[in-house]
Symmetry: C3
Subunit: 107 residues, 3 copies
Amino acid sequence: MKLVVAVVQDRDAQAALAELNRHGFGATKLASTGGFLRQGNSTLLVGVSADRVDEVLAILQRTSRVRHQLITPDATGAGVEPGAVPVEVAVGGATVFVLTIDRYEKY
Amino acid sequence: MKLVVAVVQDRDAQAALAELNRHGFGATKLASTGGFLRQGNSTLLVGVSADRVDEVLAILQRTSRVRHQLITPDATGAGVEPGAVPVEVAVGGATVFVLTIDRYEKY
Amino acid sequence: MKLVVAVVQDRDAQAALAELNRHGFGATKLASTGGFLRQGNSTLLVGVSADRVDEVLAILQRTSRVRHQLITPDATGAGVEPGAVPVEVAVGGATVFVLTIDRYEKY
Ligand SMILES: Nc1ncnc2c1ncn2[C@@H]1O[C@@H]2COP(=O)(O)O[C@H]3[C@@H](O)[C@H](n4cnc5c(N)ncnc54)O[C@@H]3COP(=O)(O)O[C@H]2[C@H]1O
Ligand SMILES: Nc1ncnc2c1ncn2[C@@H]1O[C@@H]2COP(=O)(O)O[C@H]3[C@@H](O)[C@H](n4cnc5c(N)ncnc54)O[C@@H]3COP(=O)(O)O[C@H]2[C@H]1O
Ligand SMILES: Nc1ncnc2c1ncn2[C@@H]1O[C@@H]2COP(=O)(O)O[C@H]3[C@@H](O)[C@H](n4cnc5c(N)ncnc54)O[C@@H]3COP(=O)(O)O[C@H]2[C@H]1O
């Protein structure tokens, strides 16, 4: 069994969960925050048998969109420097990590 | 060392954490949402030495309850169709994934 | 690739994320709660190539502080017993688990 950990934009999480449901995949959503833009996003946990991981990844790919955002960088977290030039940042559709589950139980 | 990732109902999270504390297990709670019912639940993270995983699982089993809920399915997320028939859904006690920890540090 | 899962105090999360950004590491923050003190803390997820894990751990070590707190223990979650003696508890800087990522995708 594998645990798919996927960071998606909030706007795509709804569609991803609905699609996962339709295909009978269990899923759990965690509210999260991007480390760089400090904006809210969603982290999805999907426990799935190893032979169906590709199906879950295909659903995530179909339901997430890359969006471009203009930001004034504040990477140090100390506030934007005066006169800083806005920069266009591409915020990904989905960032996905697949981990191995040693043991799965349901009580 | 193993990381136990357990999705439990909010009503059981309190009892699970108290029981884990009593047995000296460290734990962290994340607020989460069920992918299907879209209701709040809790995801617990418990880092534990491999030889004590069974104790943690036994605590989760003892402190979680299966509950039955009547829902009007809205799997597509687009709103309940008129005339949809309520369905009884069993919401589990605990859904548990055990992962391997390669390295553990405390600073 | 490795997934670094780090539980840090809220007060240190900002500095950790800023430092991770500066070094070009991607990161996601989850709001979490300590199992024992029931106080808010932060769980950071950092996907990183295996050869740069030590750099991420060094950043977490540098940006987190151990703090001492006086608490009146309520480990059972049932309310503090009258006359319970306050106890000093050291709340760690960072509790860190490193997991193996089998597969990484970006859509
Ligand atoms: N140091 C830096 N310099 C310049 N640009 C930077 C940067 N760090 C991030 N970005 C850009 O900003 C976008 C949003 O990042 P954020 O950290 O808010 O939101 C991230 C974060 O929450 C998560 N994420 C991405 N990589 C991750 C990783 N290796 N580990 C954990 N979470 C990650 O996925 C979200 C979307 O990431 P995505 O890569 O699509 O999109 C990123 C990336 O294009
Ligand atoms: N493989 C997995 N990966 C990640 N998280 C998982 C998971 N399996 C379960 N979970 C988590 O555990 C909660 C309880 O699941 P359980 O299977 O006991 O109870 C489920 C199940 O009995 C039922 N259910 C879920 N998906 C269904 C579907 N596609 N069709 C019919 N019933 C479904 O609804 C109950 C509530 O589901 P909900 O999603 O709201 O909440 C789920 C979800 O947050
Ligand atoms: N094995 C593990 N798995 C998952 N998460 C873990 C973990 N070990 C620690 N954590 C997370 O890290 C936070 C800080 O832990 P630390 O051990 O530094 O600092 C701890 C520790 O010094 C003390 N403590 C925890 N459990 C205790 C117990 N049963 N008896 C006495 N002291 C305890 O209270 C402090 C705060 O604990 P709290 O639970 O509120 O918050 C914990 C918890 O959220």
